[in-house]
C-alpha cells in the first residue's frame, strides 16, 4: 500500500466527518458553518459520512473511498473506488462481515487496476473490469462464509476508471445517479419486497410497511450460488454518484435526497446533511453515504 499513500486520500470507517449519534444534532449547529468552500468545477470531488443512527447500538455499515488524482503532461486516467456495505447477523457478525468484505474487495480491485496502471512495463493484461468486479465480490463472499459463518452483508462497489463506472452490487444498498434535477437508481435491490413491487404484487405504500421488507434474497456471505450484478455505465457529467445504505434511502425520500445533493455547495456537506436528515427522521438504522461529484467536461 505504501506507494499509494502519496496518491490517495482515504477515508475508512471512522473518518473525521463521522457524525456519531443524535447528540450533535441536538445542538442545532449548522453543518454549513464548517469551512468547506464551494467545490471546484474541473475535478472529481468526493464526500462521505456515516452514523450509527439513533436506534442501533452497533454500527454494522462499512464504507470506503479511495480516489486518485493525477496531473501532468501524461496524467493517469480518473480513478476512484467507492463502496458501501451493510452487514447483518447476530453477535457482531454483521459488522465483521461488512468490514471483511470492504477490505477484500478493495484489495482485489486495487491490485487488478491501479497497480497495473502504475506499473509502466506491466506485462500482463488487465482482466476485463466486469470480471474483476465479479471475482472481487465472489471472493468476499467466500471470505465471509469462511470467517463469519452466519454473517452477511450487502455490497455496492463502484470502480471509476476514466469516464466509465463499473458497478458490482449485491443486496439492498443503492447507487444513484443524480443529474440535472433527475435522480435515478442504478442498482436493483435484492429484496423480496422489491421483487414483489417489480411484479406489481405490492404497491409502494404496501411495500413500506411489509413485515418482510428486510428480507434479502442475495447477500455477500450466503455461500454457494451467489449471483452478482455487475454493469458498466458512463459517469454523469456535471452530476453526482451517490451510494448509500438503507439507513438513508429507507428513511429519507428520493426527492429530498436529490434536493440536498443538488443544493449543497460541496459533496461533503451534502453527505452530512443527508445523515442529519436520516437521524431527524428517527435514525432507525445505520446510515452510510458516499457522494461523488463529476466535472461537466
Amino acid at each position: 500500500m505504501t506507494p499509494l499513500k502519496t496518491f490517495f486520500s482515504r477515508i475508512f470507517g471512522s473518518s473525521p466527518s463521522q457524525t456519531k449519534t443524535g447528540a450533535q444534532l441536538a445542538g442545532g449547529e449548522s453543518v454549513m458553518s464548517r469551512a468547506y468552500k464551494s467545490a471546484p468545477n474541473d475535478r472529481i470531488i468526493v464526500g462521505a459520512s456515516q452514523s450509527t443512527g439513533l436506534e442501533r447500538s452497533h454500527n454494522e455499515d462499512a464504507q470506503l473511498v479511495i480516489k486518485g488524482d493525477s496531473a501532468g503532461a501524461e496524467p493517469l486516467p480518473e480513478f476512484g473506488l467507492f463502496m458501501v456495505a451493510d452487514g447483518m447477523g447476530g453477535h457482531r457478525s454483521g459488522e465483521v462481515a461488512s468490514n471483511i468484505s470492504i477490505r477484500s474487495v478493495a484489495r482485489k480491485l486495487m491490485e487488478g487496476t491501479i497497480l497495473h496502471i502504475l506499473d509502466l512495463d506491466s506485462p500482463n493484461e488487465m482482466l476485463p473490469l466486469q470480471e474483476l468486479l465479479h471475482d472481487a465480490l465472489e471472493e468476499a463472499n467466500s471470505a465471509v462464509v469462511e470467517q463469519v459463518p452466519g454473517g452477511g452483508t450487502t455490497m455496492t462497489a463502484v470502480l471509476l476508471l476514466g469516464s466509465q463506472m463499473t458497478i458490482g452490487h449485491v443486496g439492498d444498498s443503492r447507487a444513484y445517479s443524480i443529474n440535472n434535477g433527475q435522480i435515478e437508481i442504478l442498482t436493483r435491490d435484492h429484496s423480496l419486497v422489491e421483487r414483489l413491487k417489480e411484479l406489481g404484487q405490492l404497491t409502494a405504500e404496501e411495500a413500506e410497511s411489509h413485515p418482510q421488507r428486510n428480507v434479502l434474497y442475495r447477500a455477500i456471505g450466503q455461500g454457494a450460488n451467489l449471483e452478482i450484478d455487475v454493469f458498466t455505465t458512463t459517469a454523469p457529467k456535471g452530476g453526482h454518484l451517490l451510494i448509500c445504505s438503507d439507513g438513508l434511502w429507507g428513511v429519507v425520500p428520493d426527492p429530498q435526497i436529490k434536493h440536498i445533493v443538488n443544493d449543497a455547495p460541496h459533496p461533503q456537506i451534502a453527505c452530512e446533511q443527508l445523515v442529519q436528515a436520516a437521524n431527524l427522521a428517527g435514525g432507525p438504522d445505520n446510515i452510510s453515504v458516499v457522494i461523488v461529484r463529476f466535472p461537466s467536461d
Binding site: 476485463p128 466486469q130 404496501e206 447477500a219
Partner: protein, 627 residues
C-alpha cells in the same frame, strides 16, 4: 432491533436445542414413547414414537410438537384453540395422500399432534441424493397424485383447505412410490413474526401469499415451483424470487418435454388468474401432456415457421456472380458490389438497372456515399470514386494490396483498410492520400471514426485506436483475427473476433470492460439498439446481449454459420445466414417473425430504408423485401 440471519437450511441447530428436545425414553400422556427425533424447524419438532396402547405390536407414530412462546395470555389461548380446531379438521380427512391423525393434546407451552408414521423419504432428501436429473415420468407420476390430493383438499366443505406450503420437504414418497403430504402448516400459528434483515426466501410461495392471500391458486403455484425444482435441480430458495419465467425448465434440463414444461409454466404464472383455475384442471393438463409425450417422440418445433415463407419480394435483380458484400441505399438508388467485379446501381423502387462500373477485382465491401459521389474498394487494390447518378469515374486511389474493407467517411476523408496491412486515409475531393498507418496484418474490417479518432481491427487480432495525426492512442490484442467491424456507443467500443469472443472496450483508453464468449468464431459486426447488442457467429447463432451487463438475452440458431451482420430496425433484428435465409426476429425475445429464403448463402448485411429491406445473396441476386 437485532438483525438475524436465517440459514437456508431450516434445521437451525441452535434454536431447536434451546427448546429442550424430548429425549428418547420419555413417555407422553402415558401412551407415546419417544424413540428419537425425525426433524426440527422453527418452533416445532417431529419425533418418532411408539403407541403403548398396542403393547403386543410395534405401532409407530409421528409426534409433532409445537412450542407456544407467546407471552400474552389471551393470544396464547387463542393459538391453542386454533390448533385444536385444525387438528379436528385434519382428523376428518380421508385421502390416500393425507396422513391419518390419531390424537392431539396440549401441555403448558407445548401442543402435540399424533399422526401416522410414514416410512419413506421426503422429496428434498430424494433430490439431495440424486446425482442426475430425476426421470421425468417419475416426477409426472408424483405430480398427478399431488394435483389429486390438492384437489381433494380444495373441495372440502364448507371451507376449502389451503395447504399453503407445498415444497419438496413437505412431500414424502412412501415405499410404494406414492405421495404423502406431511406438515399441514398447523405449526404456522406458532411461528413468531420474523424481524430484521435476513437472507433467504420461501422460494416456492406465490407472490400473492406475501399480501396474506391464500387460495387454491397459490397451492397450484407452489406445486409448479416444486415440480420445477424436481426437474431442474435448481433450488428456488437461492434464486431471485418469482424468476421461474427467466429460467424455463427446458433451458436447464433439455430432457424435459415441451408439453410438461408448458404445464409447469402455466402453474407458475404471476397472476393467479393466468394459472390453472383448479388443481383438478392442472391434473388433467398434466395427464394429457404426459400422454402426448408418450405418443410423440419427434420434437414439434416447425409450427412457428409456417407463416414465414409468405414474405414476398418487391423485386430482385440478377448479377453475373455472387453478391458477397452489402448494399447501400443512397437517394433513389441501391448500390451494391458484386463478385463479377461490377458495382451496380439499381432503382430502389423497381430494381431497374441504372448503371454498372467494372473494376478489375471482386467487390466485397459496402459502398459509401456523400455529395453525389460513391466510394468503393475492390480486390484489384483500388479505391474508386464514382458519380452517383451515372457511375463516371472521379478518381482512383491505389493501395498496395486488395481492398476488402468498406470505406468510412469522416470530415472530408475516406478511411479504408487493405491487405497491404495499412489503414489508408484519402482525401474525398481529389483521391490523394492524407496519411496512413501500419497494422500487423490485413485489414478487412471497416474503420469506425469518432471525435478525431479512428478505430479498426485487423487479421492478426490487433485492434487499434489512432488519432488524426496518425499517433497510436491504444492497442488491444485478441487471440485471433478481427474481421468484425467495431461500433462505438456511449464511449464503449464493441467488436467480435475469431477467438469466439465479443469485446467491450473503453474507447478512451482501451481497457476491457467485459468479454462475451460464444461457441464459435465471429466475423460479424455487432448492431446496437435499445441497450441490446446483436452479433452473428460461426456457431450458427445470432446472439443478443445486454450491453450493460454482458448478459445473453437470447440466441437464435440458424441452419448454418452467420457471417453477415445483424441490423436493428423498429423492434426487429434482420440478419442473413449462410443457410441462405434472411431472418427477421423480435428484438426483445429473439422469436422468429419471418424468414426469407434465397438460393445461396447470404454473407452480407441487409440495409433497410423506408421499411424496405435490401440484401444480396451468393445466388447472384439482389433482393428488395418488405421489412
Amino acid at each position: 432491533m437485532p438483525r438475524t440471519t436465517r440459514q437456508l437450511d431450516e434445521n437451525v441447530q441452535g434454536e431447536s436445542e434451546s427448546l429442550d428436545r424430548l429425549q428418547p425414553g420419555i413417555t407422553l400422556e402415558d401412551r407415546y414413547l419417544i424413540l428419537g427425533m425425525l426433524g426440527a424447524g422453527g418452533m416445532s419438532s417431529v419425533y418418532k414414537g411408539r403407541d403403548l396402547h398396542f403393547p403386543n405390536v410395534t405401532k409407530l407414530v409421528a409426534i409433532k410438537e409445537m412450542v407456544n412462546l407467546i407471552a400474552d395470555q389471551s393470544m396464547h389461548e387463542m393459538i391453542v384453540k386454533n390448533f385444536e380446531r385444525e387438528a379436528d379438521l385434519l382428523a376428518t380427512l380421508s385421502h390416500p395422500a393425507t396422513p391419518a391423525i390419531y390424537d392431539n393434546f396440549s401441555h403448558k407451552k407445548r401442543s402435540y399432534l399424533v399422526m401416522e408414521f410414514i416410512d419413506g423419504d421426503d422429496l428434498e432428501a430424494i433430490l439431495a441424493e440424486s446425482t442426475d436429473f430425476l426421470p421425468e415420468e417419475r416426477v409426472i407420476g408424483w405430480a398427478i397424485e399431488l394435483c389429486d390430493v390438492l384437489s381433494y383438499l380444495h373441495n372440502i366443505q364448507p371451507e376449502p383447505i389451503i395447504f399453503r406450503d407445498i415444497k419438496p420437504s413437505n412431500i414424502m414418497i412412501d415405499h410404494h412410490n406414492h405421495v404423502r403430504l406431511i406438515d399441514f402448516g398447523i405449526a404456522r400459528n406458532f411461528q413468531p413474526g420474523e424481524k430484521g434483515t435476513m437472507i433467504g426466501t420461501e422460494g416456492y410461495s406465490p407472490p400473492e401469499q406475501y399480501r396474506g392471500e391464500a387460495s387454491p391458486a397459490g397451492d397450484v403455484y407452489a406445486l409448479g415451483a416444486t415440480l420445477h425444482h424436481l426437474l431442474t435441480k435448481r433450488d428456488p430458495r437461492v434464486e431471485a424470487p418469482f424468476s421461474f419465467a427467466e429460467r424455463p425448465a427446458r433451458s436447464i434440463n433439455p430432457l424435459i418435454s415441451p408439453e410438461i414444461e408448458a404445464v409447469i409454466s402455466t402453474a407458475l404464472q404471476y397472476d393467479p388468474k393466468d394459472r390453472y383455475p383448479s388443481a383438478m384442471i392442472m391434473k388433467e393438463a398434466m395427464i394429457s401432456a404426459a400422454k402426448r409425450t408418450g405418443l410423440l417422440s419427434a420434437p414439434s418445433v416447425a409450427a412457428v415457421i409456417a407463416q414465414s415463407d409468405k414474405i414476398e419480394e418487391i423485386w430482385s435483380f440478377k448479377c453475373e456472380d455472387e453478391i458477397r458484400g452489402s448494399p447501400l441505399v443512397y437517394e433513389d438508388t441501391v448500390y451494391v458490389g458484386c463478385y463479377d467485379n461490377n458495382l451496380y446501381a439499381l432503382d430502389k423502387q423497381t430494381g431497374e438497372f441504372q448503371w454498372k462500373y467494372a473494376t478489375e477485382g471482386g467487390i466485397t465491401g459496402k459502398p459509401a456515399a456523400e455529395d453525389g459521389v460513391i466510394f468503393i474498394g475492390s480486390e484489384d487494390g483500388r479505391l474508386y470514386a464514382l458519380t452517383a447518378n451515372r457511375g463516371s469515374l472521379v478518381w482512383t486511389y491505389y493501395a498496395e494490396g486488395p481492398i476488402r474493407s468498406s470505406p468510412t467517411l469522416s470530415e472530408g476523408h475516406i478511411f479504408i483498410g487493405s491487405d497491404d496491412r495499412r489503414l489508408h486515409v484519402v482525401n474525398q475531393m481529389n483521391g490523394r492520400r492524407a496519411w496512413r498507418v501500419e497494422a500487423n496484418d490485413a485489414i478487412w474490417s471497416t474503420p469506425f471514426v469518432q471525435d478525431e479518432l479512428v478505430y479498426f481491427g485487423c487479421e492478426s487480432g490487433d485492434f487499434y485506436c489512432y488519432n488524426f495525426k496518425g499517433e497510436l492512442k491504444w492497442r488491444k490484442k485478441a487471440k485471433r483475427g478481427i474481421t468484425s467491424s467495431a461500433i462505438i456507443v456511449d464511449d464503449i467500443v464493441y467488436y467480435g473476433s475469431r477467438d469466439w469472443t465479443m469485446y467491450a472496450i473503453d474507447s478512451e483508453n482501451g481497457w476491457q470492460i467485459w468479454r462475451f464468449r460464444m461457441r464459435g468464431a465471429t466475423i460479424s459486426s455487432p448492431s446496437f439498439a435499445d441497450g441490446l447488442l446483436c452479433i452473428g457467429c460461426g456457431d450458427n447463432n445470432i446472439y443478443c446481449v445486454d450491453a450493460k451487463h454482458a448478459r445473453e438475452i437470447w440466441r437464435y440458431e440458424t441452419d448454418h454459420q452467420v457471417t453477415g451482420s445483424p441490423v436493428a430496425h423498429d423492434g426487429s433484428i434482420y440478419c442473413g445466414s449462410v443457410d441462405g435465409s434472411v431472418y427477421c426476429l423480435d428484438h426483445k425475445t429473439g422469436r422468429l417473425r419471418w424468414r426469407f429464403h434465397s438460393d445461396g448463402p447470404i454473407t452480407g448485411t441487409p440495409m433497410i430504408a423506408n421499411n424496405v429491406l435490401y440484401i444480396g445473396s451468393t445466388d447472384h441476386k439482389m433482393y428488395a423485401l418488405i421489412a
